[in-house]
Amino acid sequence: MLRERIADFAGLVEPDRVRKEVYTDQEIFEREMERIHETVWIYCGHVSQIPKTGDYYTVQIGRQPMIMVRGAGGKVNVLYNRCPHRGNMICGDRHGNTGDQFRCSYHAWTFQHDGKLKNIPMMESGYNGTRFTRDNPDCNMKKAARVENYRGFVFASLAKDGPALKEFLGRSVVAFDDMCDRAPGGEVEVVPNCFRVIQHSNWKLFLENQLDALHPSVVHQSTGRAAHEVEKILARKAKGGAVPLSYHMLSAFATVTIDKWDDFQTINYPYGHCILTGYMGLRPQDPDTLAYEKVMEKAYGKKRMEEILGVNIHHVLVYPGLSVQSPLQQLRAVRPLGVDRTLTEIWHFRLKGAPEPIYRRSLAYYNLVNSPATLINADDLENFWKCHAGLASDGGDWVSFARHHGRDIEEKGVVSSGPKMGTSEAPMRNQMKAWAKYMHK
């Protein structure tokens, strides 16, 4: 039906608008899982989630259930969560420790942490002379085609060919550099908790929202105002003393008005990655920050410390599956569950060697903004659902990304929104450009 109307996938995307079916059509969803999520580098997790041999986390890559596991010798493997015998999932829990081997719960086949077959009950009597022999790779748990990690952040690609991780990430590596560099030790470790929230919409609506600088002051007005009222009362009580920064982080959603969001900037890279610059007042001159700066200066020297703390980022989007808020050490991994259902997995990281108050500061943001009792995302989720339901209707054929279209500045393949155009829809245009390229190949 769709095919009759639109000849090819490239026809679905124009520079400033996108066909609604891109969000709602089941056939397109299956194709994008195949050509995008099950091809490109997808974030699996952080090495500190699985510190000991046998530690594992299950993770969804496109439609594929996978296992990220720490093998003997410290190597991190990513395997299909499937027994080569009858297809049973090997790990039924979300995470745990599998000991020195995987053991299928159905017929007790066992495997090493790299997926290689260890033993089959009745190997000799049952399989002698059959095609299932120990050296047949079909007897192993299948591995992800490629696994790489960047500063502890593990990615897997289910396609044999394609750019190496570093080439794929390009300048979006700043997400991980900014996060790790802010630690005096140059490393982060995961806070062992994952908040998981399901939204009733297509996965792309989440990513597009992350760098949409116009929406916060509209959507999050209620929380911004409510936080600002309490912030004012606390400031009066404190008589010049500091009000916890978390109130400012919330009230900014209302006090940073639309014109001020225009002072931010979007920077858009190949493969659909993009950055929204902007600073949420995370470097105030309070005693906690000053103590932290002292530790940082000792670790890096003054010049390098200034460089690190001066990195001006609000969000980094690593397309198609990761939104990183590096100055607050948190990230959201986007897992499509269906054309109209999406799971986000939300993690927080601790800066190794940084004073406790710095951890607590970003923890407050994690709890207030990113927990399942979020004061912020609740209204985003409401909009995602409404968007998806509206797009599924016959009330129109297109989604518009025309805001500041034609005013972007392109230089060496990097597209920036124009001056005082932070609310530009350039990031959405950039994501859809990458999308069309993946889908059309």
């Binding site: 806070v191 908790n193 908040f195 998981r196 929230v197 399901i198 939204q199 009733h200 959507v219 007005q221 209620s222 929380t223 105002r225 409510a226 936080a227 009222e229 309490v230 606390l234 109130y247 919330l250 799971l343 927080h348 406790e356 951890y359 607590r360 923890l363 994690y366 709890n367 207030l368 927990s371 399942p372 009792a373 979020t374 004061l375 995302n377 609740a378 209204d379 989720l381 409401e382 909009n383």
Partner: protein, 158 residues
């Protein structure tokens, strides 16, 4: 018997305040330094410095109330309501000064637009005895379904 009766009445009153959306009345049940806490799972021993679904003092409760009451709290516009049932009220500890710790179980049904969700779990209340009755120093909420992925989110206290 008297204490059992009083504390049961207190817990019923708290759930009634939620179900009738009397947010200020609900906040007023807490002591000045009272905390409402919902940990990510049962293994957590303290709310302080830990990830938490809720870890709110009265100031943050006031932010949450202000948000829900704001006309542009988009997600709260549709028809929405809850129904709590509290039971299995079991006093765990009585101090000499009359402060008590009480455990209970709850079921909560929530209706939002056309969807119904069901939450259940346990409460642990640390209650301070005051002249005006009990006040909550700490309320811990462990939801049985708290570790499952949240299909949509929680907007107010459970």
């Amino acid at each position: 018997m008297k204490i059992q009766h009083d504390v049961e009445q207190f817990l019923y009153q708290q759930s009634e305040l939620l179900d009738t959306k009397n947010w200020q009345g609900w906040i007023d049940l807490f002591t000045a330094d009272g905390i409402y806490w919902m940990p990510p799972n049962r293994s957590y021993k303290t709310w302080d410095g830990q990830p938490a679904i809720f870890a709110e003092d009265k100031n943050l409760m006031t932010v949450r109330m202000g948000r829900v009451l704001h006309p542009d709290a988009w997600s709260q516009r549709p028809q929405w309501g809850t129904n709590h049932v509290v039971s299995n009220v079991s006093i765990r500890k009585i101090s000499k000064n009359g402060d008590i710790e009480v455990a209970s179980r709850f079921h909560m049904l929530e209706m939002r637009r056309d969807d119904v969700r069901h939450f259940a779990g346990s409460y642990l209340h640390k209650l301070k005895k005051t002249k005006k009755g009990y006040a909550i120093q700490l309320q811990r909420v462990d939801m049985t379904n708290g570790e499952a992925a949240y299909d949509y989110v929680l907007q107010v206290w459970v």
